[in-house]
Amino acid sequence: MIPANFDYQAPSSVEQAIALLESSHEAKLLAGGHSLLPAMKLRLAEPALLIDLGRIPGLSYVREAGAQVALGAMTTHAAIAESPLLASRSPLLSRAARQIGDVQVRNRGTIGGSIAHADPAADYPAALLALDAEIVARGRKGERTIPAREFFSGLFSTTLLSGELITEIRVPATTGAGTSYAKFHHPASGFAVVGVAAVVKMASGKIQSAAIGITGVADHAYRAGAAERALVNQPASAIAGACSRAAEGVDALGDHFASAEYRKHLAAVYCRRAVQEAMAAKA
């Protein structure tokens, strides 16, 4: 379990980090390292340069930003899981964070590192999609804001440009909506075989709107549009039928633990459970 040779730099500012990132085509950012370092030890990843973001001040926070909650990219899963601000304003992200890995992973892993890695079975993407979150990225040319729906683009890939790094994630307050994250854990890895995040707004006993993000099923997390549309203006009795469309049109992945067909089935089951739970959850 010995990685290949690499150079290591620990910049003290985002600008320095960006400059380093541009200095090498084979640079990787270290932001927790709970996916990257195991991959390096197995020599599945052999970056020439490792840029440690851990020494840059001011990248770890959870704070109010108008109608949103802003999180620094280096905020750990544990901090997100335990944030009182998120608990009162936007609890879905905390729910997802609580189900990531184990205590050690949650204490070291960061939200920026996780979403930049874009593991198809990671938990955050489902929640960020359902929340219509925004990802703030900075590069040499400045800062831009990427909607979550435009961020995850494929297997371990995002729309981040080379030379860009994530500085902040912004999630809206979900006051008035019920939220839930329902997850079927892989027994070995703890990743989501299927994870469904739901944000549901009710009006006079019917579903006013539903936002559903699903991870684990396809090569990247997606919004379950067909199910969402089928839920609108429906009573509780129609949830199961609507949620059966959770993986409609999705090209599902399969492996020796769960086939594509089974994952699509689980997506429907966990979609229903997440929506029901969200409806029952206090807004």
Partner: protein
């Protein structure tokens, strides 16, 4: 200060002696403090240490991380070894180019088969008449036959250099089609070993009684096919070897994470051609083995070979990926079974065919393991006639060998699943059909249809207790209610017996005895040397408890030394739940010999009879006249006033040969709920009543049961080594291979019954594997019981959610059509 009663069930602190007394007068502590503390509770009779929930002496150093495993060893000038391993399941080696690796920074040597072909081979202790033992070289010669097979060893100044250089060893492979499915392999013409000209490694038949007659008389015959999947042992500490050769002294020292230091010493000497007198094997701390370290591995020869070639110490530490690919696997059988039954549930006869996937090469006990399945296949039942045919098959996989239970979990799974299927066929309660086929307590020693003799037992008693604890009738009521509501709730039983204390030498490939030496040191402390090789079981504690009682001392006065062939007389090692029953007995008898000598010396000094000498609370003598323990010891060593004919010194060694195995037993009851929508299984209740004879330390027995149950539940639900159709190892890391986690297992409700073994003086049986053996069928029985309304009779392990979900889907589709 009062010692807490063991009846309270609370663990008593290890420092049971009064602290103040110890601090003020350490030398007298054993004589005064303990006695004072104990007298208050036991009417003057000191409470024995045996039977107490005594905390492990090993734990402080292990928990603090201040002890030493193989990987912690740092020797001056030590080099590091990394193996280059086959990425192919089966391939011809067309060439190996080591030049780039040899010129890589820090590299001292690169070895391949051309360097090691003159060495001996990896040993196999199997002795079946038609057993084929293909050459098992220490590095691959000509072909690689499984993923992970070592092809070259790179030795460098540091581990990083060795690892980088290993990437530069270029091996040209001509891939060959892999032999993966053992049933197809038997009929196929693609051979794992061309020299054997067959993939059949051996056959073995166990036949007793008129089987055909039993089946022709039967009211019903129940048939099944079971897959007992391949498992990886995954001990917490992987393997590791450090070797040092001193050219002047010509001595070779090998530190290895092994369960069998003495057998390894002999085999290393034979493989390397070094006189055994000049080989020393030491086991540092060993972080678990579960049988996977009851072996002699290629690396245990290559690393010492390199150390001898280079005249410098060499270390190799196994990575987890190597551990999953190239340390032995367990189980991997396919079973075809038939039971002949009378309407009342009486088992008239049994037929079984055991197809054992051996992998590519025999390790030490590879062919022996499935024969143990045959030996135990009748379980705890009277069966009129039996035919069991075992066939071992070569495939392009890592070898299977002893893994916790080793052949017995497979047997127990077969018979316990079959009995459940029979109960269902005959519409009998699963507990009732078992009760009807148990031997009665008066029938012990009980001769089984497989030809062995169960030493003692009372199966009905343990089952009754387990059913009571589980609230069996309430669970059945809950099940009925669940079924009514369209939910799937099941109750599963497993009544098991197993074979421990391995075991008489006549039944073992390389000796079934054990050695024990007890030496009372001049300061009055006791050193015990045991041939057993504890690697997590806690025998430094339990053995000390036993010896402390014999001499009237405390466990802290006794130090257990093991795992150093230079210090300890030849022994066999720790496996097959043998350490306490065989090794403990050797030590017990040796201690009695020393005690008798001390009694003779004390009696001589006191002018009393030796038979009147009582060893209690640090004193030796009678109630009226006694000497301090240290005074008697002093007399033995100063040797100026010894009884006539008594030699100086206080040391005895005993080699204990058991007359039989021991046969612990018990009943486990599991209830579970199956989520029909997803196939997910939740264990609701787990009750285990185990009988391992007399108990030295209940705390450690419970620990063994806990761990065993978790491993067995994990086989039922999670674990599976998967090779795909190309022989590639799909579950090569712990991201894919599902080890159980605390949150995935239920709380256990444990109880014991106690039926001492007549085979050894302490009446102990062994408990290391019982939990693993009992739990697996109990869980599968519970799941299949839950799914009864759907007409599902069997699902093969592991009961992964998708598999269960598909079985439910199919059953529903079949019912609808």
């Amino acid at each position: 200060m009062a010692i807490r009663s063991r009846k309270t069930g609370k663990p008593a602190p290890r420092q049971m002696a009064p602290q103040g007394t110890l601090a003020r007068a350490p030398k007298k502590a054993a004589e005064r403090g303990i006695a004072a503390a104990q007298k208050s509770r036991t009417n003057g009779r000191p409470e024995p240490w045996v039977g107490r929930r005594y905390l492990r002496k090993e734990d402080p150093r292990l928990i603090q991380g201040i002890s030493h495993y193989a990987d912690d060893l740092r020797l001056p000038g030590m080099l590091h070894c990394v193996f280059v391993r086959s990425p192919h399941a089966y391939a011809r080696i067309a060439g190996i180019h080591t030049g780039a690796a040899r010129s890589s920074p820090g590299v001292v040597a690169v070895y391949t088969a051309s360097d090691t072909k003159a060495l001996g081979v990896v040993p196999c202790a199997g002795a079946l008449p038609d057993l084929k033992i293909p050459r098992h070289p220490v590095l691959a010669e000509g072909h690689v036959r499984h993923v992970g097979e070592p092809v070259a060893a790179v030795i460098a100044e540091d581990l990083y250099q060795a690892r980088d250089a290993a990437e530069k060893v270029q091996v040209e492979y001509d891939p060959l089609p892999a032999v993966v499915d053992p049933e197809k392999a038997l009929a196929g013409t693609n051979f794992v070993h061309a020299s054997v000209k067959s993939n059949q490694a051996f056959t073995h038949q166990l036949k007793n009684g008129d089987v055909d007659a039993a089946f022709s008389r039967a009211d019903r015959v129940v048939k099944a096919r079971f897959v007992n999947q391949r498992l990886a042992p995954v001990s917490m500490e992987t393997r590791g070897v450090v070797a040092q050769y001193l050219p002047g002294e010509k001595t070779l020292t090998v530190w290895s994470s092994t369960q069998i230091p003495h057998l390894l010493k002999t085999q290393v000497a034979l493989i390397l051609g070094v006189p055994e007198t000049h080989v020393r094997v030491v086991t540092p701390e060993v972080g678990g083995g579960f049988g996977s370290k009851l072996n002699v591995y290629r690396e245990e020869a290559v690393v010492p070979f390199a150390a001898m070639q280079l005249g410098r110490p060499v270390k190799w530490s196994e990575s987890r990926r190597e551990n999953i690919a190239a340390t032995i696997h367990g189980r991997d059988q396919i079973n075809y079974v038939e039971l002949a039954l009378k309407k009342n549930g009486t088992i008239l006869g049994m037929r079984a065919r055991v197809i054992s996937d051996l992998g590519a090469y025999h390790q030490l006990l590879t062919p022996i393991i499935p024969t143990l399945t045959a030996l135990l296949i009748s379980g705890c039942y009277k069966i009129g006639a039996l035919q069991c045919d075992v066939v071992g098959v070569f495939t392009n996989k890592m070898a299977t060998d002893a893994y916790r239970g080793a052949g017995r979990p497979e047997a127990t799974y077969i018979i316990e699943r079959m009995v459940d299927l029979a109960a269902r066929e005959l519409n009998l309660d699963p507990a009732e059909i078992r009760r009807r086929n148990f031997p009665k307590p008066r029938e012990y020693p009980f001769a089984t249809i497989t030809g062995i003799t169960y030493d003692s037992g009372n199966y009905e008693n343990a089952m009754k207790k387990a059913l009571e604890l589980a609230g069996y009738s309430r669970l059945r009521a809950r099940q009925k209610d669940a079924w009514k509501r369209g939910k799937y709730y099941g109750v599963g039983l497993s009544t098991y017996v197993e074979i421990c204390a391995m075991g008489p030498s006549t039944a073992m490939p390389a000796g079934g005895w054990e050695s024990g030496t007890v030496r009372v040191e001049p300061t009055g402390k006791i050193t015990v040397l045991t041939g057993a090789s504890p690697h997590g079981q806690g025998q430094e504690t339990t053995f000390a408890q036993i010896v402390a009682d014999i001499f009237g001392l405390t466990p802290d006065d006794v130090n257990i030394v093991h795992g150093d062939t230079a210090a300890v007389p030849y022994g066999i090692g720790t496996f097959g739940s043998r350490a306490t029953a065989v090794g403990g007995t050797a030590m017990y008898i040796a201690a009695q010999k020393v005690k008798a000598k001390m009694a003779a010396i004390a009696a001589h000094l006191l002018g009393e009879k030796a038979a009147a000498m009582n060893f209690s609370a640090g004193r030796v003598g009678t109630k009226k006249k006694s000497l301090g323990f240290g005074e008697v010891v002093g007399a033995a060593y100063v040797a100026r006033n010894l009884p006539p004919g008594v030699e100086p010194g206080l040391e005895a060694t005993h080699f204990f040969e058991p007359s039989n195995f021991t046969f612990p037993f018990g009943t486990h009851v599991v209830s579970c709920e199956v989520d029909a929508e997803t196939g997910h299984i939740r264990i609701d209740k787990y009750v285990a009543v185990d009988d391992c004879g007399n108990v030295i330390n209940p705390l450690l027995v419970e620990g063994q049961i806990h761990g065993g149950i978790v491993q067995g539940v994990s086989q039922a639900l999670f674990e599976e080594v998967i090779y795909n159709e190309d022989g590639q190892l799909v579950t090569g890391t712990l991201m894919d291979y599902s080890m159980p986690k605390a949150a995935q297992v239920p709380e256990f409700i444990l109880e014991r019954t106690c039926t001492p073994s007549p085979v050894n003086p302490m009446g102990v049986k062994g408990v290391g594997e019982a939990g693993t053996i009992a739990s697996t069928p109990a869980v599968v029985n519970a799941v299949c019981d839950a799914l009864r309304p759907l007409g599902i009779t069997h699902i093969d392990m592991p009961l992964k959610p998708e598999k269960v979900w598909r079985a439910i889907q199919q059953a529903r589709a079949a019912a609808a059509s």
